[in-house]
């Protein structure tokens, strides 16, 4: 089965080989940029349009190359990985140039902007005045950004670092007082703080100076050469200055330009390619599949994936443990003749089923603190999953109870049992056997859905996988390994329930059932 999966994967990969070689790009006529459009002023969505400094600069580059720019919006964790898989030609997302990223096979253009890591605190929180003060505090960071790396370098322990998908989530966490501070790219923080978060402020000057670059995968240094040419051109002809003024609200100064020129060597060494060369490129060769399972990557990933799987299991089991009895209670309320109980349960179930789990997680994690309820990431995650599962499980139980022949309750009542005794001793034991298969489905769904709580900084299995994949090293290999981990958890569960079902079969099917029904109907 796994071999089949791998094969299918390989097939997909071979179709998707855009791999950004220049001839292919030219034939396509489009230059594909991957980005994470939640990052003002670099790129963000406004009125369903992706706009920002990067978008303007990227469009100009495409124009210089005689191509049309196409932007695809991803989660940050997927942006760099999409280069290797050939889903895009360039990544442009306010990406900091680092030696580490270069070492992993990413090729950077010359710097196109100065940046730096900056601290944000609640207004007037005088405990935090500089990077040294962060060491014993809770710090929110954006997952796999240079902000996270900088905070790690300061010596903040891993369990004091809350990792989020978006800068805004980290800022919200500081506002909600779960985190004491957050660290991120200066231009972005400045832009976001101007629009919202009046209760937060920047702390001094950036404590790490950085430069930003445009990224390609290592098989395409020529493309980066072309990008460099275009950037150099823009600096001279004024297009760069226009974009700078438009998005950062300040004029481009000679000092900034000088510093950018001084740090030109931050970018990767790439060949100079004249733009005219684009026209003489040969027709693309048909490439074979680029897929290969890299055992050394999988092996290195396993210890971290085990950690993630442990958290996934803990989240799932705890949520089932809480969600199942809660669901049963809601089911009993829903079939209760007491009207108010009935209404409460119905409203609850409909609200939970009618809204996305992701939203529920956000509400519990980000909104509850605003009304004074403090929850750790883990507790919030378990709470959200439990409450969600309870709604679905209550429907399973309700259907199960209603599927039990009404003669069972009548027989029990005719023997003098009250409603509660009859429920506990006659109806529910039969219900449990009947709901086991749908309950297993729910457990499996819950195990998979638990990946959604990664948005509140929980490093469960899927998040771990993403992290490793973003960090470089074949995403295909990493995600296949993650799939194996999920299967290793779900398959035994399904198998166990099948065994139980087989064991209970003779009891739930009376031998002369069919005959009996025919006679009654006659």
């Amino acid at each position: 089965m796994l071999a089949g999966l791998a094969l299918a994967w390989a097939g997909l990969a071979s179709v998707a080989v855009a791999q950004g070689s220049l001839p292919q790009i030219k034939q396509r006529g489009e230059l594909i940029f991957a980005t994470d459009p939640t990052y003002p002023p670099f790129e963000y969505m406004e009125k369903a349009q992706m706009i920002g400094f990067d978008v303007d600069i990227g469009n100009e580059i495409a124009k210089d190359l005689g191509l049309k720019a196409k932007w695809i919006g991803l989660e940050w964790a997927g942006v760099l990985g999409s280069l290797e898989s050939g889903k895009c030609d360039l990544a442009m997302a306010g990406i900091t140039i680092t030696a580490e990223r270069k070492g992993k096979g990413y090729v950077f253009s010359r710097p196109y902007l100065l940046s730096g890591q900056e601290i944000v605190r609640r207004k007037g929180d005088t405990r935090i005045n500089g990077p040294k003060d962060l060491v014993n505090k809770i710090v929110a960071v954006q997952q796999e950004t240079t902000g996270q790396f900088a905070v790690a370098k300061l010596g903040v322990p891993k369990d004091h670092m809350l990792r989020f998908d978006q800068v805004q989530d980290g800022l919200m966490d500081v506002r909600n007082k779960r985190s004491d501070a957050t660290v991120g790219d200066l231009p972005t923080l400045k832009a976001i703080l101007q629009k919202g978060f009046p209760e937060l402020e920047l702390v001094g000057e950036p404590f790490v100076k950085e430069t930003l670059g445009i990224v390609a995968w290592k098989n395409n240094p020529e493309l980066v050469g072309l990008v460099n040419r275009s950037l150099n051109q823009m600096m001279v002809d004024g297009r760069y200055a226009v974009a700078y003024k438009k998005w950062f609200g300040e004029p481009l100064t000679a000092k900034i330009v000088g510093e950018l020129e001084n740090r030109k060597s931050d970018g990767s060494p790439v060949p100079d390619v004249p733009i005219a060369a684009m026209k003489e490129l040969p027709q693309p060769k048909v490439t074979g599949s680029s897929f290969s399972f890299r055992w050394e990557v999988a092996g290195a990933a396993i210890p971290q994936l085990i950690k993630g799987a442990e958290l996934t299991l803990a989240l799932t089991l705890l949520s089932l443990l809480i969600g199942t009895p809660t669901g049963l209670i809601f089911a009993l309320m829903r079939i209760s003749p007491v009207k108010p109980l009935n209404w409460i349960a119905t409203v609850y179930v409909e609200i939970v089923r009618g809204t996305p789990l992701l939203m529920q997680i956000y509400v519990i994690y980000f909104v509850l603190p605003a009304v004074g309820v403090e929850l750790s990431s883990f507790v919030a995650g378990v709470l959200a999953l439990s409450l969600n599962a309870a709604a679905y499980i209550s429907e399973i139980f309700r259907a199960g109870i209603e599927s039990i022949d009404s003669g069972q309750m009548e027989a029990a009542r005719s023997l003098g049992m009250d409603y509660r005794v009859a429920m506990v001793n006659v109806i529910l034991p039969q219900t449990v056997r009947r709901v086991l298969p749908p309950l297993t489905n729910e457990a499996v769904a819950l195990l998979k859905d638990s990946s959604l709580v990664s948005v509140v900084a929980l490093a469960e299995l899927m998040r771990m996988g993403k992290e490793i994949a973003t960090n470089g090293g074949s995403p295909t290999t990493v995600y296949l390994t993650v799939a194996v981990f999920y299967l290793a958890m779900t398959l035994p569960l399904t198998w166990l329930v099948r065994r139980l079902e087989a064991k209970w079969q003779p009891i739930s099917r009376p031998r002369d059932g069919a005959r009996r029904l025919k006679r009654v109907a006659a």
């Binding site: 023997l415 049992m417 005794v421 001793n425 039969q430 009891i507 739930s508 099917r509 009376p510 009996r516």
Partner: protein, 243 residues
């Protein structure tokens, strides 16, 4: 002699469908009453009103002179056993557990004592060997005998039977009727809705003919079954006996 059960001016409607239209009936201790009538005439509804599985629309059912109400229904049901057309055994527990469940949970009988009583009851319905069988492993006749033993488990004063042999294959009817006959001989008060006219003639003290929710005719079996006064009764009997 005062009646053990008395039904007074009982009406029952389901929505706009009036099913029972003023039933008056007294059942004395030790009496066996056979309830006959066409399908849909209200036999089941009448029996279910007696132990309040259905709530009467108006009128009253008295047990030992006391009206049965929502408040005392659970207590009264311990003294009124019921056997259903479709057995309604609890499929997830064994025959003996089916019998001992109510004594343990309702009367608070100890598990050991309940088990001993259940064993004796299984002997009484001639199923001593099937104590540990699940209902699904028993034939229809065996299931119905376990259901009778289950109803007897609370030592009821009255037993209600709702067409106890209608769901059985013909060859299995005899064994169930035999158990009921023994029960009648032992002096149990019984109301039996049935289409088994032979059984009614032989075992019942009184036969009641129900027609569209009214008692049309009642009397000793020889009279109601032998020389019925009402045309409707004659028609019904002709239909049943010619089958």
């Amino acid at each position: 002699m005062s009646a053990l059960l008395s039904i007074k001016n009982l009406y029952k409607s389901f929505g706009r469908n009036e099913v029972l239209k003023g039933i008056d009936l007294e059942v004395a201790e030790g009496e066996v009453v056979a309830l006959i009538g066409a399908s849909g005439s209200g036999k089941s509804t009448l029996l279910r009103c007696v132990n309040r599985l259905e709530i009467p629309t108006s009128g009253e059912v008295e047990f030992r002179g006391e009206p049965i109400t929502a408040a005392n229904a659970n207590a009264v049901r311990r003294e009124i056993g019921m056997v259903f057309q479709r057995f309604n055994l609890f499929p997830h527990i064994t025959a003996i557990e089916n019998i001992s469940l109510a004594p343990i949970k309702v009367l608070g009988t100890s598990a050991n004592e309940a088990k001993a009583q259940a064993t004796a009851l299984l002997e009484q319905v001639k199923l001593g060997a099937k104590a540990d069988a699940y209902p699904g492993e028993l034939s229809g006749g065996q299931q119905q005998r376990v259901a009778i033993a289950r109803a007897l488990g609370l030592k009821p004063k009255v037993m209600l039977f709702d067409e106890p042999t209608s769901a059985l294959d013909p060859e299995l009817v005899g064994e169930v009727l035999e158990v009921m006959r023994d029960l009648a001989k032992s002096g149990m008060t019984m109301i039996v809705a049935t289409h088994e006219m032979g059984f009614a003639r032989e075992v019942a003290n009184r036969v009641i003919f129900l027609d569209s929710g009214r008692i049309l005719e009642e009397g000793p079996p020889e009279q109601v079954l032998g020389s019925p006064k009402q045309e409707r009764t004659r028609e019904f009997l002709a239909r049943v006996l010619n089958k």
